[in-house]
Amino acid sequence: MNKENWHVTFDVFRQKTCQSVHFDAFPMDVDPDEYVLDVIERIWAFNDRSLTFRHACHHSTCGACGMRVNGVEKLTCITPINQVTHDGGKVRVEPLRNFPILSDLVVDMGEFYLRLDDAKFAQVVTLDAACLPFEKKQQVRENGDFERLVDCLECGMCISACPVALTTSEYLGPAILAAAHQTYQQTNDPEMISLADKQDGVWRCHSAYECTAVCPSNVDPGWRIMDLRKIVLRSQIHKFFSR
């Protein structure tokens, strides 16, 4: 059997349609090495079957299990308990910010997914195109033409952490702009320039860099947004002088 030697209290955000927000406390015996998502699943399985939450792969590829844990965005399937609390401590679990809540820990990611389609974001690209340009030496092999799923899991954590997204849902947000950046790097599609070159596109970013800080997956949206600004400016200057 597993060692379960920490006693931790989980305070979980609860809200069903047309009801008020409240937190339910669940005292749990946990293994400090197990993941936050495992405990949430145990809460559902043994304590409260009415708890709703999103999860699928349990290994950081699907991006479904993003939540706020003690106020910080975490991908709960790869966040060990010992990273967020100590024996006798509390773990506050809330849904991602800046998305409409469907119930409890489930938020509506529909608009977010559809915007990614607007950015024509491809999930499978060559190794070369999948990593950040300044990582190519370590990430790309010379002997072969490989493809892989990209870094962005579409988890929405960057949007949750962004102070601009906090104040308006019109802002495309880090994930979408990072996606447009990647699409442009691969395809030079001018539609990406027009997607980004808007008041609610790249120009709305105010350099808080929380997106890069919370991304569980090496996307570095902060860098990509600024690089996209460079790309947009370059393209505008070209257009101006080629008239």
Binding site: G71, I101, T167, H206, E210, R229, K230
Partner: protein, 128 residues
């Protein structure tokens, strides 16, 4: 609903809890901006004293040399340095320069601010 994007959430910009260094720069830039704007307004009022004749102005200058006002002026210098230097960092980032090292650059600039403040404080409070 409280969880959704809303312009009323703006007050939460100034809450640095659970956030990282980039947010501190973000918050400092806004607070120093508000502070400097307030200072500008006060400064204009003070200058208005010029129109009220030499005694009124001299009286104000005497007040300006008291420690409270001097410390206030140090805060203004701090705000100016923080806002200006961080502003340069943000402007460079906006052109894709230094984005990968934004944290280190911010720390470096704040050290410069601290050093300048120590020098200015020395000469303002203990010099002359």
């Amino acid at each position: 609903m409280k969880n959704e994007s809303n312009s009323a959430n703006l007050i939460r910009w100034f809450d640095p809890r659970h956030r990282q260094l980039g947010t501190w720069a973000f918050i400092l830039n806004r607070i120093t901006a508000l502070g400097l704007t307030l200072y500008l307004i006060l400064h204009l009022f003070a200058l208005g004293n010029l129109a009220r004749g030499p005694e009124a102005y001299d009286g104000f200058i005497k007040l300006a040399k008291t420690p409270v006002i001097l410390i206030g002026e140090l805060l203004v210098i701090a705000a100016g340095l923080i806002h200006g230097l961080n502003g340069i960092r943000i402007a460079l980032n906006s052109f894709g320069i230094g984005t990968r090292y934004q944290k280190q650059i911010f720390i470096g600039l704040m050290i410069v601010v601290a050093a300048c403040l120590i020098i200015f404080a020395k000469s303002m409070l203990f010099g002359h």
